[in-house]
């Protein structure tokens, strides 16, 4: 099982980063919380694994399709 990119599915602002590289996560765990139209939109782990990288910072604007984190094995 290789690395898996995690992408934003919408244009939004990064509100909170809930995990750090090296953290072990389960499928469905919240990695990053985005904000759009005043709502908090959680981005969750598509599968279990170890967070390989977080590619955004809080308050940063992200676009639909942008890679925001990488999940490792």
């Amino acid at each position: 099982m290789g690395e898996m990119p995690v992408r934003s599915e919408l244009n939004a602002v990064v509100l909170k980063i809930e995990v750090a590289p090296g953290d072990r996560v389960q499928e469905g765990d919240t990695l990053i919380v985005l904000e759009s139209m005043k709502m908090e939109i959680p981005v969750s782990a598509p599968r279990a694994g170890i967070v390989a990288a977080i590619l955004v910072e809080e308050k940063q604007t992200v676009e639909e399709g942008q890679k925001i984190a990488v999940l490792g094995a």
Binding site: E9, L10, N11, S36, M37, K38, M39, E40, I41, P42
Partner: protein, 518 residues
Amino acid sequence: MNWRAELDELRLRERLAHAMGGPDKVKRQHDGGRLTVRERIDRLVDAASFHETGAIAGSATYDENNELKSFTASNSIFGRARIDGRPVVVVGDDFTVRGGSADATIHEKPLMAERMAAEFRLPIVRIIEGSGGGGSVKTIETKGRANLPGGVGTSLGFHYTTANMAVVPVVALGLGSVAGLGAARLAASHYSVMTKSSAMFVAGPPVVARVGQDLSKQELGGWEIQTKSGAVDHAVETEDEAFACARRFLSYLPSSVYELPPRLENDDDPERRDDSLMQAIPKDRRKVYKVRPIIEAVVDRGSFFEIGVMFGRSVVTGLARLDGRPVAVMASDPYFYGGSWTATACQKIVRFVDLAETFHLPVVYFMDCPGFLIGLEAERAATIRHGVRAMAAINQTSVPWCTIIIRNSFGVAGAVHQPAGRLALRYAWLSGYWGSLPLEGGIEAAYRAEIDAAPDPAAKLCEIEDRLNKLRSPFRTAEAFWVEEIIDPRETRPLVCEFARLSDKLLTVGPSAFPIRP
């Protein structure tokens, strides 16, 4: 004396037709992981139900005694068949014969398929691969002249490609590489499905390379591109899944606009009250929730069939059943822009309510709409233009309509939660929250002077917000009868099932007042 010799010749010609493009081409089709058109039709329709029209039409060569020497069938195959016992027309491209292109099609064949669907009022399933009977550059040489698209004798096919959508259900399956006319026949449908190994484009990679884009088939028109763009409704792994999707879609629809949607036996209690609905909406208004489990908790168990999951994602659309009756279901998805109406969501709504209107499906709308998407990108996308088109589409419906306000209803997009000018049923959940515009940001705009004049503007803002929040209880709105009913969310299924039963008397057959566009 009998007709044995003639019958033998007929059977011989049929056998030659069934050989399609020959063993090598059939092997190539299989090696590419794709079925032949005849295998596709067999797997799509009820066992042994396909009755072909024009099987032996094609091109033949004869020897010096005028005896048949060779025969290649047309690459358009069509006929009638049954799906779940109901008659349909199926038309499919045979990619093993000249890659499905026009010079081997005999264009009257796909045309007759479309006419048969229209005149016998039967759903049509188009199985598309290649250029879908469209011309290629080579056609100039095989025909000896250049074709004028839509020229004399060829415009009727284009007529039926779109006109049939106002008469009968049109399902299109893109299996393989689909380009040009094939792409148009795929998109001009009520429901389209492609396999994930397929690609669809107006023009393929070699042509696109000439305008300076060096892309693979998948990069240019793969499933992610086409389902996100909304050009294709759904993508699946296997051809068998595509056939299953086509059958399921048709199960909710009448065979034509001259019939009502078929009611099925239902064993899910219409009075069922699902406790999960009491916890479905978070009290914190900034928190989102999953809307699909809400839909599934309300409609007949297992009956929700989503359409267009990858496009205009702040609005979910699909077909379902209530007490066995097919209905069109629309819902907001707060995971995408808080459920606000984007330009693409509005395009999706137009197409979806037009489908409901065309085939006499009552609409149930689970609404949580904070308004149109706002901001520069939204303005650039002409959100308001697409928004008022969605408003017009909803206002133009005549099918029965029921709206459940499950949380937000703000602004103009909030107002478009039921057709204006006629009575629809409307229920608000306890979590209902509404206004001309949201307090956040709205207060700064409306109370500017008061806030600026205050010694502590931030404290003043909070004070005004508190004041307004006390007034925003949905009960105050109900007290004034500005909303007719607030309900326990667990009452939703009994009430929408009642709505579906009431709709029985209101549905009338016939073409819609305006013909649907693709």
